[in-house]
């Protein structure tokens, strides 16, 4: 029964998407579309975590299965897809091309769930590619100029990521016996090109997580997508990159201090850079996107410490998993919240309810005590501390600064997304706010509901419930700063001047690329083509036509009695001489 459940979890979305091919069945497909994530949620809940399914005849040996990490990721991802699916059903009620959105949504879901269930490299890569390409359809759904541009950049980086992963995994696959994760991890650790492979994977999956130098697609893509899509993009798809790290990197197996160190640095850089640029944004969803970038920076810090100190890996793993779970649920709740906040309220208590609903996940993200966010923060603190290297002390005081920045960013978001009365949007339909409410509630309640297996999580949730000063001072300081700025007109006016366009470093990057391309076209290709043209025209204009008349004149000179006579005598003498000489 559990095997059928796992197979259904992976295949359901695809089958329903196929139904769309037949016009008659479109109504049915539309109805059961959002519920495709249900079997996955059920599988996560009740399937025992050591099940594997082997199909050697499919795609170089397909192997699906569920292991502890997979189970946790499957849980929050399927929850997210279910909520966003229901939300999307009513969100797109009136939209004309809702059908195209649902198809892309289902294929992306199939890819995401497939890569979580995959137990071998090739299936993982196949589902990862399907998810990434299907997401393109979600991003460019409403066909505006910005969404085309965002889509173009997104695809470019997806292809780059795909290609880096391909190279890294190929390097490891030769050493590994099979294509399963365990031998690949060994190969990653001990192969002749271990460092190159690990870096390739870090960068390849880093693109999906939005690590700084290659993060610019995220703030462009997430806001333009329809709200349920950006919730899924920011919540579930980002975590696919993290799952890739967990599956393939040789964490807890070999020490790579220099890569670990650079990861921590880049991680913190991403955290702070994301927060600072996020502050200057105008659009609520872009602010949320930048907050995702900065949160993922923190994850990178944890991974960096694990790479630097393999001993710390068990704590780091639980911290990262918990953080991922918390961030996914909270961030998607916020994204859905922006949609719900823009609805027309007819009574003030409804507005109050929505404000509370928005505040709760924001507080969780900031790490307020009593929420899963606090537990995640505690986990992170322990994880980085366990690292033991020089970075441990630095991260001790950098982490609170990080949560300070996050609080400021969330206040900015709340300021932008504050629900007001008499907004001209449609009425609040249950399909909209019900899933959002479930998500917001689960942010706080989830840690107590899900039966934690290892002791770290239990201890951290207990620590999170008490109110400790060193945990909450960054939050309070952030809130005070935000209120001050909001009140003081002069400061906020000047702040408004610092306007950085979304996708910050991309804008100068594009100009540079255009200039480079122009140089390449004008000089290299231009001159080459011109040289070829010159050569061809010289040949056809001069040699060919001049050759024939001159050659026929030569034939007249050779073919007459006079020359024949002279040549005949010469030849006779030459023959006689040659015959006589030797």
């Amino acid at each position: 029964m559990s095997v059928a459940l796992v197979l259904l979890a992976a295949a359901a979305p695809l089958l329903v998407a196929l139904l769309y091919l037949f016009p008659k069945l479109r109504g049915v497909a539309g109805a059961i579309g959002p519920w495709c994530a249900a079997p996955a949620l059920a599988a996560a809940a009740c399937v025992q975590p050591d099940l594997t399914i082997e199909w050697p005849w499919l795609l170089l040996g397909l192997r699906l299965g569920l292991d502890p990490t997979g189970r946790m990721f499957l849980a929050f991802t399927s929850l997210l897809y279910l909520a966003a699916g229901i939300y999307a059903r009513s969100y797109l009620e009136q939209a004309a091309d809702g059908r195209r959105f649902v198809v892309f949504y289902l294929v992306a879901m199939a890819g995401n769930l497939g890569l979580i269930l995959a137990q071998d490299t090739l299936t993982f890569l196949a589902c990862y590619a399907t998810m990434s390409l299907a997401a393109y359809g979600l991003i460019t759904h409403d066909r505006r100029e910005e969404s085309w541009r965002a889509g173009r950049i997104y695809v470019a980086l997806v292809v780059l990521g795909e290609v880096l992963l391909f190279a890294g995994l190929a390097l490891a696959a030769t050493q590994a016996e099979g294509v399963a994760f365990e031998p690949m991890r060994q190969a990653m650790a001990r192969g002749p090109w271990a460092e190159v492979g690990v870096t390739l994977l870090l960068v390849g999956f880093g693109i999906k997580l939005g690590v700084v130098p290659l993060h610019f697609w995220l703030p462009l893509a997430h806001p333009v997508a329809p709200t349920p899509a950006s919730a899924v993009l920011s919540g579930a798809m980002i975590k696919a990159g993290l799952l890739g790290w967990l599956r393939f990197l040789p964490l807890g197996d070999v020490t790579q201090p220099e890569i670990g160190g650079s990861c921590v640095v880049v991680g913190f850089l991403t955290a702070f850079y994301g927060a600072l640029v996020g502050l200057t944004q105008r659009n609520a969803k872009t602010v949320l996107a930048y907050s995702s970038v900065s949160q993922m920076g923190l994850v990178l810090v944890a991974i960096g410490t694990a790479l630097g100190a393999p001993a710390a890996w068990p704590t780091v793993f639980s911290a990262v998993a918990l953080f991922a779970c918390h961030h996914a649920v909270a961030k998607s709740a916020l994204f859905l919240g922006t949609g719900v906040a823009a609805v027309r309220f007819n009574t003030s208590w409804q507005r109050g309810l929505v404000v509370a609903g928005l505040l709760l996940p924001a507080l969780a993200l900031a790490g307020a005590p009593g929420t899963m966010g606090a537990a995640a923060k505690v986990g992170l603190k322990y994880a980085t501390a366990a690292g033991g290297s020089a970075w441990a002390e630095a991260s001790a005081w950098l982490l609170p600064l990080g949560s300070l920045a996050t609080t400021l960013l969330l206040c900015r978001f709340l300021f932008l997304a504050w629900p007001r009365m008499h907004q001209q949007a449609g009425p609040a339909r249950p399909g909209l706010w019900l899933p959002w409410l479930v998500l917001s509630a689960s942010v706080s309640g989830l840690p107590w509901v899900v039966p934690w297996s290892n002791d770290h999580l239990v201890e951290w949730t207990r620590a999170a419930s008490q109110v400790k000063w060193e945990a909450i001072w960054p939050m309070i300081l952030g809130a005070i700063l935000a209120m001050g700025v909001w009140r003081g007109r002069i400061v906020s006016a000047r702040l408004a001047a610092w306007r950085i366009p979304a996708g910050d470093i991309l804008v100068p990057g594009e100009r540079l690329a255009e200039r480079l391309l122009a140089v390449w076209n004008r000089y290299l290709v231009g001159t080459l083509a011109h040289a070829l043209w010159l050569l061809r025209s010289w040949w056809s204009a001069t040699t060919a036509p001049r050759f024939t008349p001159r050659f026929s004149r030569l034939s007249a000179a050779v073919e007459n009695w006079g020359t024949m006579g002279v040549l005949a005598t010469l030849l006779a003498l030459a023959l006689a001489a040659l015959l006589w000489l030797d």
Partner: protein, 498 residues
């Protein structure tokens, strides 16, 4: 002549005889011509199946005929030749159906189908050739059979393209002839023996063996479109779509790549090649071709020229796989022989459909064509994703094994070449897919022929979709024993266990 003796000969004859008969059919006898064509194609598939079954049972098929006192015309069926014969037989059937639909009502069809069958007979001959001389005979017959196809339209442009094609291929075959004659002065008739046998030649001749290798690769490289010798391929695009589909996916280009594989594995032996130190330059040339072909493809606005340059770069994957020492890279190279054929023929069929149904030839005119011809563009998308090497498709499998082979042979920079070329493939294929599906058509199509409810004639649509399904099928069912990958691993085992 016992049964096992004449089967390879029958396979070659199964497309030669219909070809000769079709030549004498008057133009208007359409039904006769179609039945002859299809019966020839089906007959060949049956014979190939029999041969496959025979080889599977361990039977040895050899046809022997002495041309000169010590020079022999020899056909035999080893796994490598069967792989190529099966590929060309199946794709010939599909291309015949496609050509019958495509050339409906155009002039000179008897002449076209006559040379069309001769061309496939030559390709089959190349596949089952038992020694280098027989390979050379069919190799040059292929040039003669394909020339009238390239100039089929008879316009001045196609005639000049034919001239360029001849200049390249005849020069190449002269170099190959010199190489073969020179080699036969050392070893008598140069046979094809798995694992190669030139390491027994005494070391004094190693210098001239290197020169012979260079000459032969030059000769075969013309048809395999290695960079300096690829000039004929883009200009041969003036030919009608079934010709460019057959030429660039199955017959000519594959004959060149197949020749390289034969020379490196069954004549020289790949270990002997690396001791001679000839594999590095060959791999270098292949790498340069891969990147150069993709860059040139970026700048082509004409769809078929872009596909032609993409063929130039894709065929060099096979040569890269052959040149890199190690069973994995060989496996990647040989399996790409089949995959590239299937993927490229799908793309050319789509290009043909677009030209036939909508009169669209340029990439810039492709906006919104996905809505008008969804099935064709779906096949194109599958083919394009295969070319880029997106996982579930066949292209990914061969790139995966090529990359693994490269890293196993401690040559990581080949992976860089694969990476760069995959990015470039994406750069020149994705915009087409994007324009077709996501953009709005600019205006009415230059030509708008619908076949009733379908977007274009059934005989054009069915082959396109069939090959697209093959692309995905070879990818998904790669590890099944009868898939190209299974067959290629059988070949690689026998090459390396000598």
């Amino acid at each position: 002549m016992s049964w096992s003796q004449c089967l390879p000969l029958l396979v070659v004859a199964s497309s030669l005889l219909p070809g000769i008969v079709i030549f004498f059919l008057p133009e208007e006898r359409r039904s006769w011509r179609t039945t002859l064509n299809l019966s020839g194609a089906l007959g060949k598939i049956v014979l190939v199946a029999l041969m496959l079954w025979g080889v599977f049972q361990g039977e040895r098929f050899v046809v022997r005929y002495s041309l000169l006192p010590n020079v022999e015309f020899r056909l035999h069926a080893d796994p490598l030749s069967l792989l190529f014969v099966t590929l060309s037989a199946t794709l010939w059937l599909l291309t015949t159906i496609y050509a019958i639909g495509y050339l409906e009502g155009s002039p000179n069809r008897s002449r076209f189908f006559g040379f069309f069958s001769l061309c496939v007979a030559a390709t089959t001959g190349i596949a089952v050739a038992g020694n280098l001389l027989t390979f050379l005979i069919f190799y040059e017959l292929l040039t003669l059979a394909t020339y009238p196809l390239v100039v089929h339209r008879g316009t001045t442009q196609s005639l000049s393209a034919g001239r360029i094609y001849l200049a390249y291929t005849l020069a190449g075959s002269a170099a190959l002839l010199l190489g073969v004659v020179w080699l036969s002065s050392f070893v008598g008739t140069p046979e094809f023996i798995e694992g190669g046998y030139l390491d027994e030649v005494d070391p004094r001749h190693q210098g001239s063996l290197v020169r012979i290798f260079a000459l032969m690769i030059l000769g075969v490289g013309v048809k395999a479109a290695i960079v300096p010798l690829h000039g004929w391929l883009p200009s041969a695009m003036v030919a009608p779509a079934p010709v460019s589909a057959l030429l660039h996916a199955v017959a000519v280009v594959k004959a060149g790549a197949f020749g390289v594989v034969r020379i490196v594995y069954d004549v020289f032996g790949v270990e002997f090649c690396s001791t001679l130190g000839v594999t590095e330059p060959l791999a270098m040339a292949a790498a340069v071709t891969i990147v150069y072909g993709s860059i040139r493809a970026l700048y082509q606005d004409d769809l078929k020229r872009r596909l032609a340059f993409s063929t130039v770069s894709q065929v060099s994957y096979i040569i890269l796989g052959t040149a890199v020492l190690g069973p994995l890279a060989t496996l990647g190279g040989i399996v790409h022989l089949v995959h590239q054929g299937v993927m490229k023929i799908t793309l050319f069929f789509c290009a043909g459909n677009l030209a036939e149904a909508l009169g669209v030839h340029r990439v810039s005119e492709l906006n919104g064509v996905g809505r008008r011809m969804p099935w064709t563009m779906a096949a194109f998308t599958v083919g394009a994703l295969g070319m880029i090497g997106v996982p579930p498709t066949a292209g990914f499998i061969s790139k995966w094994y090529l990359a693994m082979g490269a890293s196993a042979a401690e040559e990581p920079w080949y992976i860089l070449v694969l990476v760069v070329s995959s990015v470039l493939n994406a750069c020149y294929f994705l915009p087409i897919v994007y324009a077709a599906w996501f953009k709005q058509p600019a205006g009415p199509w230059p030509v708008d022929q619908r076949a009733g409810r379908l977007e274009t004639k059934l005989s054009l649509l069915v082959p396109t979709i069939a090959t697209a399904l093959l692309v995905v099928g070879f990818g998904l069912l790669a590890s099944v024993w009868f898939s190209p990958l299974g067959w290629a691993s059988l070949i690689v085992e026998r090459e390396y266990q000598r």
